[in-house]
């Protein structure tokens, strides 16, 4: 088996590379976008293949020599769509034996709909969101599978374990008191330990189905948020958990509703054109500056009352934002506690024979060991390094 791993420098990609190399029974082609993020791989002294997913020929070159492909790559919308298109086309052309694509439970919306306990639930994320991009990717993979490519789509929630960006973000938010505890932290926090996820990928490479349909992959059981915070207590600042704000679900949900994007209109455009910000930029040019000066003098001649009236009609009254008890809170991150659907592993167990290797508690213990070591929390200088926090 020769496996091309795209997005090899990310959390899942790098862990998978390490595991496959340790197994010793397959050849790994670790594909990275930039050398800046590839240090975790580079330390192994392995050859890294720098590939721009937008370069169709380069993607084809890599895949043409491989029997299996794993896509863990992320990027902007163009890269996610065009890059995947290149990977799928090259994989079909090379007749790869299995294509494994990483999706996300966000395809079921944010928060995912309650029915997404099961993969068959309707997936209708808001257009333009990350979940929407992942859904469109899933559709591309499924179409490729219908056209003959053996493909598996694995669909994890947030990923935990050593190097987890998500858990580190939570720690930062706890230490900075920007995380709010929703309804006492009683909601489940479904995670996939990176080792469990890689185990599922390896199973998919060996015996994956060919239909390109989504399979949920998680740790199986979920800690509640209160339990998760307790697991993190040994690695967060002393007393940090006690300083977290508390908020109700009913109070938080409306705050997460995004304002609809402004609608274009001629009136809005004209107001923008004569706004002080645009005029300040235009005054940098001598000709526009002169014209602006003439206009301002003309308006000034009309008297203060008229000048105020004109300004108010363009810019409105000066708004002073009231202080709020939500200031300083990371509402988006806190809102993850509204994602309370526990997606079932039943299908991935039936299809791949997947059983989690580590429990959520074991995952958090592994994360803590990694974090304490990398942050130097247990060495003789930790009192001094704490001065830098």
């Amino acid at each position: 088996m020769k496996v091309a791993i795209f997005g090899a420098s990310g959390l899942t990609g790098a862990t998978l590379v390490e595991r496959l190399i340790a197994r010793g029974d397959c050849e790994v082609v670790a594909c990275i976008h930039s050398s800046g993020n590839a240090w975790r791989l580079a330390r192994m002294g392995i050859a890294l293949t720098q590939v721009d997913l937008l370069d169709e020929a380069a993607v084809k070159d890599v895949i043409s020599t491989c029997t299996h492909v794993v896509n863990c790559a992320r990027g902007d919308e163009a890269t996610m769509f065009t890059g995947l298109k290149h990977m799928l086309e090259a994989s079909r052309a090379a007749k790869v034996k299995q294509f494994v694509h990483l999706s996300s439970v966000m395809v079921y919306g944010d928060p995912p709909v309650a029915a997404s306990v099961d993969e068959a639930a309707s997936a209708e994320p808001v257009e333009g969101t990350y979940g929407w991009i992942k859904l469109k990717q899933d559709e591309m993979v499924e179409a490729a599978a219908r056209a003959g490519l053996r493909a598996t789509v694995l669909c994890p929630p947030n990923i935990s374990g050593p190097y987890s960006h998500y858990v580190q973000t939570l720690i930062g938010s706890i230490n900075g008191a920007s995380l709010a505890i929703v309804d006492g932290g009683g909601a489940p926090c479904l995670l996939a330990d990176v080792r469990n996820l890689c185990h599922a990928i390896e199973l998919a490479l060996e015996r994956g189905p060919s239909d390109g349909k989504r399979l949920f992959v998680s740790d199986g059981t979920a800690l509640t948020w209160a339990q998760l915070l307790a697991e993190l207590e040994p690695v967060v600042a002393e007393g940090a958990l006690d300083r977290l704000a508390r908020i109700g679900r009913a109070e938080l949900a409306p705050l997460l509703q995004q304002a609809p994007p402004a609608r274009a209109s001629l009136k809005r455009s004209l107001k923008h054109l004569v706004s002080s910000e645009v005029r300040a930029a235009m005054r940098l040019d001598p000709m526009w500056g002169k014209l602006d000066g003439v206009m301002r003098q003309s308006v000034a001649k009309m008297g203060r009352g008229m000048e105020d009236k004109l300004r108010l009609s363009i810019e409105g009254t000066t708004k002073v934002r009231r202080k709020s008890r939500y200031d300083g809170l990371d509402l988006r991150l806190s809102g993850h506690q509204l994602r309370d659907t526990v997606h079932s592993n039943r299908r991935v167990t039936d299809v791949l024979g997947y059983h989690p290797l580590v429990t959520p508690q074991e995952s958090m213990a592994a994360f803590r060991r990694w974090y304490r070591k990398h942050q130097g929390m247990d060495d003789a200088f930790s009192d001094l390094t704490a001065r830098l926090a």
Binding site: S9, S34, S35, G36, N37, A38, W39, R40, L41, A42, R43, M44, G45, I46, L48, Q50, G161, P162, Y163, H165, Q168, R195, H199, G353, H355, P356, L357, V358, T359, E362, A365, A366, F367, R369, W370, K373, H374, Q375, G376, D379, A380, F381, L384, T385, R387, L388, A389
Partner: protein, 352 residues
């Protein structure tokens, strides 16, 4: 009026694009006479983007007769041959840190400089920060008493991605994060406290350049038992900066050009003081420009460069001592939890 110093910049990668060339162009004492890069198009494109017309060359030997000095900013393992070619022609060199990829190469550079009487300056730009200069003065004067312990940390998840990716290769970079990131601090530490008597070092490398490392420094009786620790990461964000415990309190200094020295006395008051020169400088100088001017002064007036080639060599010697005593830290994060689970899984598969 003195003629402008004709500078060739060798290597037109990210550090030249972002720092050396803008600094040189902002100087009223320097003329960028040549841009040299093995990829001529890259050098020419950079020149066009600034609207300048220096000589473009692929080999420094093509321009040696037309320059007063060379700034070398190429991958670490190419510093020595380029520097020696310059020095043999009597052209002084400012070499981007580290001086070379090994101390043996650095010694060859210094030997060439010694034969021709030319200047070698090591490009440790952070030595030109006002806070670095002030801290050295305060330590030497024992302003806060004697230093007892110190730490320095710097860590980001990834980052700097040189065009040639030389940084991910142990041979071309001369090491991992210790060389790429820590070398600035190693230089400042040597400047502050001198060479430690003993060192310990651990990292996470297996065949490649390390992504994470921790170094411990033991100074012995000459420095009254001063102990230090430095930690670097290319995978993890670390609260960055330096903290020094003195007899009279703790000093912290962040890693930026405009960072200030903050002193927290151990008098139980709970107050902190910002320590500044008086009067405070009006603006934070560009450390890369200061470095170029220091080099020009050394070439023209015979003054000693702020960071001499000899100091560049000392940094490499200490880095090699650290690597020589290297221990690999355990990454058994899951202990036997997952290993036993994988064993159980394998057994289940076999049973099935």
């Amino acid at each position: 009026m003195t003629q402008r110093f004709r500078l060739a910049i060798i290597g037109t990668g990210l550090i030249t694009q972002g720092s050396h060339l803008p600094a040189a162009l902002s100087s009223d004492r320097v003329e960028v006479a040549a841009l040299v890069d093995s990829v001529a198009d890259r050098a020419a494109s950079l020149a066009r983007s600034y609207g300048i017309s220096p000589r473009i060359a692929t080999d420094v030997r093509e321009v040696l007769g037309d320059i007063d000095g060379a700034l070398i900013a190429t991958p670490n393992d190419s510093h020595a041959p380029i520097a020696i070619a310059c020095l043999e022609a009597g052209v002084p060199v400012l070499i981007e840190k580290p001086l070379a990829s090994t101390s043996a190469e650095a010694e060859r550079i210094l030997a060439a400089a010694s034969r021709t009487g030319s200047v070698v300056a090591a490009g440790y730009s952070t030595r030109f920060r006002p806070s670095t200069v002030l801290l050295k003065e305060l330590v030497d004067r024992e302003y806060f008493g004697r230093a007892r312990r110190f730490v320095h940390q710097f860590g980001t998840p990834g980052g700097w991605a040189p065009l040639s990716s030389y940084n991910l290769n142990r041979q071309t970079a001369g090491g991992g994060v210790l060389v790429v990131t820590a070398t600035h601090f190693i230089d400042r530490m040597l400047n502050l406290f001198g060479m430690p008597e003993g060192v310990d070092f651990e990292d996470d490398a297996s065949n490649g350049p390390e992504a994470n490392c921790t170094a411990y420094f033991h100074y012995g009786p000459a420095r009254h038992g001063l102990e230090g620790m430095a930690r670097y990461s290319k995978t993890t964000r670390l609260p960055s900066g330096m903290a020094i415990e003195f007899d009279r309190g703790i000093v912290t200094l962040r890693d930026s050009d405009d960072a200030e020295i903050v002193f927290a006395p151990s008098d139980g008051s709970g107050y902190s003081q910002v320590i500044r020169t008086s009067p405070a400088p009006a603006a934070v100088p560009d450390s890369f420009l200061e470095q170029i001017h220091d080099f020009v002064d050394a070439c023209r007036n015979g003054s000693r460069p702020r960071v001499s080639g000899q100091e560049g060599l000392m940094s490499l010697q200490l880095i090699e001592r650290l690597y020589a005593g290297r221990k690999r830290f355990s990454e058994d994060w899951y202990r036997d939890d997952a290993a036993s689970a994988e064993g159980r899984f394998a057994n289940n598969r076999i049973a099935a």
